[in-house]
């Protein structure tokens, strides 16, 4: 393990047309920890998360300045291969989006793209990843049925397993439990706590209690700026900034 942070953001500015959506962001995301971005809706936390794997590339009118360093490489460098960056990160979106294929093929999709052809090997990967997200026992008899037939909670765990199958170093979650019922939410949260042993996890959430349950560090984003960044308990119990205080107490939404 290097002392270098996995993701380091330097002087990042993002514009949607004339709208200055992210203002001068500087932050180092701690390695092998869960870091949560909190803040009111529209504050830019999701926008910030999406800059980590260049998901803004296909949007019109988005201009990005500054650097996002992943393992020391600026991902916005002209020569940077975008698939190379994205392979390092698993993404969980607000709602699960299983690919239109079987459960097995969903997990095998990533490894196949990156060159794994051997059937036995693929089978091992699929089983391992499904076990890692505690889905194996629920689906082992119907691996070749369409993934869309799973419940939403199962689909979200499938999407997590699918992301893990490309052996990323980082997991990005954009309010990954917002469509889930409390039990499924609990399962996903438990998974994050296990997975942080191996991965750097960055979550966007608007649920303070969730941030408190799962994260080691919290970043409070407001109006496109990082207001405060610190260890979870410290930031929630003893916020230094007035804005953070107001938000944590529920005066700001």
């Amino acid at each position: 393990m290097t002392s270098q942070p996995h993701i380091s953001i330097q002087n990042l500015n993002l514009f949607y047309g004339a709208n200055h959506a992210l203002k001068n962001i500087n932050i180092d995301i701690p390695d092998k920890r869960v870091t949560s971005f909190i803040g009111p809706s529209g504050c830019g936390k999701t926008t910030l998360l999406k800059t980590f794997n260049r998901l803004h590339d296909s949007s019109v009118d988005v201009r990005i300045e500054g650097k996002v360093l992943v393992d020391g490489e600026n991902i916005y460098d002209k020569d940077m291969e975008v698939t190379h960056i994205r392979k390092k990160m698993g993404l969980l979106s607000q709602r699960p989006f299983p690919l239109p294929m079987s459960i097995f093929d969903n997990i095998a999709y990533g490894p196949r793209i990156h060159g794994t052809r051997d059937k036995k090997k693929l089978h091992e990967i699929v089983e391992q990843q499904l076990r890692d997200v505690a889905l194996w026992d629920e689906v082992k008899d119907r691996l070749h049925t369409p993934a869309a037939r799973l419940s939403i909670g199962q689909q979200q765990r499938l999407c997590l397993a699918r992301g893990l199958a490309v052996e990323p170093e980082i997991i990005l979650g954009d309010e990954p439990t917002s469509a889930l019922d409390p039990r499924s939410t609990h399962k996903i949260e438990e998974l994050f706590l296990e997975l942080k042993e191996k991965y750097t996890i960055v979550l966007v959430t608007h649920i303070l209690r969730q941030a408190r349950r799962v994260s080691d560090f919290i970043v409070f984003v407001y109006n496109g700026e990082i207001i405060e960044f610190g260890p979870t308990e410290e930031l929630l119990l003893n916020p230094k900034e007035e804005l953070t205080k107001d938000y944590v107490r529920g005066f700001l939404s």
Binding site: M89, G90, F97, Y109, I113, P146, C159, R162
Partner: protein, 279 residues
């Protein structure tokens, strides 16, 4: 008072629905009633003999086969051109790109052009190259006719594919070309509908094939042969003064109607089954 208003408008809407349903039954009914008496196995299995159009032996197998060739060929050709177009504007181009706008605009304009214009255009092109009316000419003209239908149908389906689904593929490190597979699978029911709709339109159009495909009493054996079609067969038979031959026009119309109905029904069934099981 408001209750009466509600009832009046409800009644008007029901009448409108009744008009469309009864038109369907009246048209099919007319074709069946007038066509059945002249219908026989010869109509389906034989090509016209010498005096077919003055009431002698024969059938319209030549036109059935010609129509199937033209509809099949043009649907295939149109798909081969339309699929790359819709994939390109939906996966590769950013929203609001000028090329996407220009493509959609041309497609919209082409959609509204009457089929006789495609026929005339095809004819002009063929004259220029010194080609005679043929199966190939018909396929090309009808391809131009059905391409806008195909593009529009597929484009509408692909536009509804959630961006997040494509993002999911990208975030696993897939390239755009690899993501094409996801797009095609996700919109498979729409692509199938587009092909069948185009096939139905292609098989029933008379104006675009009139000058480009020509007509003959034989089943076309090569792309150079003139290709008879059912709509033109109906047209020729119906213009005959002899009642016997006119009745055959209705029998031919019955064959064409059954073909088109089969296609649109199977489109519905397949689309349903496809969207239930595969995705």
């Amino acid at each position: 008072m408001r209750k009466i208003e509600e009832n009046i408008f409800k009644a008007l809407m029901i009448i409108a629905c009744a008009i469309i349903v009864s038109s369907f039954f009246m048209i099919v009914g007319t074709v069946v009633l007038k066509g059945l008496p002249a219908m026989n196995l010869d109509m389906l299995t034989k090509t016209p003999d010498g005096g077919f159009y003055i009431g002698k032996e024969g059938g319209v197998l030549n036109a059935i086969m010609g129509s199937l060739y033209i509809a099949g060929g043009s649907s295939f050709l149109a798909l081969a051109i339309s699929l790359p177009i819709v994939l390109y504007i939906n996966l590769y181009l950013r929203k609001g790109s000028w090329l996407a706008k220009a493509t959609r605009l041309s497609q919209d304009v082409l959609f509204g052009i009457p089929s006789i214009v495609y026929g005339a255009f095809g004819f002009t092109v063929m004259m220029y190259f010194g080609l005679k009316a043929s199966l190939l000419g018909g396929i090309v003209a009808v391809t131009l006719l059905v391409m806008p239908i195909m593009i529009r149908t597929m484009d509408e389906v692909m536009r509804t594919v959630p961006k997040e689904l494509l993002d999911a593929s990208y975030s696993l490190g897939a390239t755009r070309l690899e993501t094409v597979r996801i797009m095609v699978r996700q919109s498979a029911p729409g692509i199938l509908t587009a092909v069948l709709l185009s096939f139905g339109r292609a098989i029933g159009d008379a104006a675009s094939v009139m000058f480009t495909a020509g007509f003959s009493d034989n089943i076309p054996q090569s792309l150079d042969d003139p290709a008879p079609t059912l709509p033109l067969a109906i047209f020729f038979q119906l213009s005959s003064p002899m009642e016997e031959v006119q009745a055959r026009a209705y029998a031919s119309a019955l064959i064409l109607t059954i073909l088109v109905l089969t296609i649109s029904l199977s489109a519905r069934i397949l689309t349903k089954r496809f969207s239930k099981n595969k995705i």
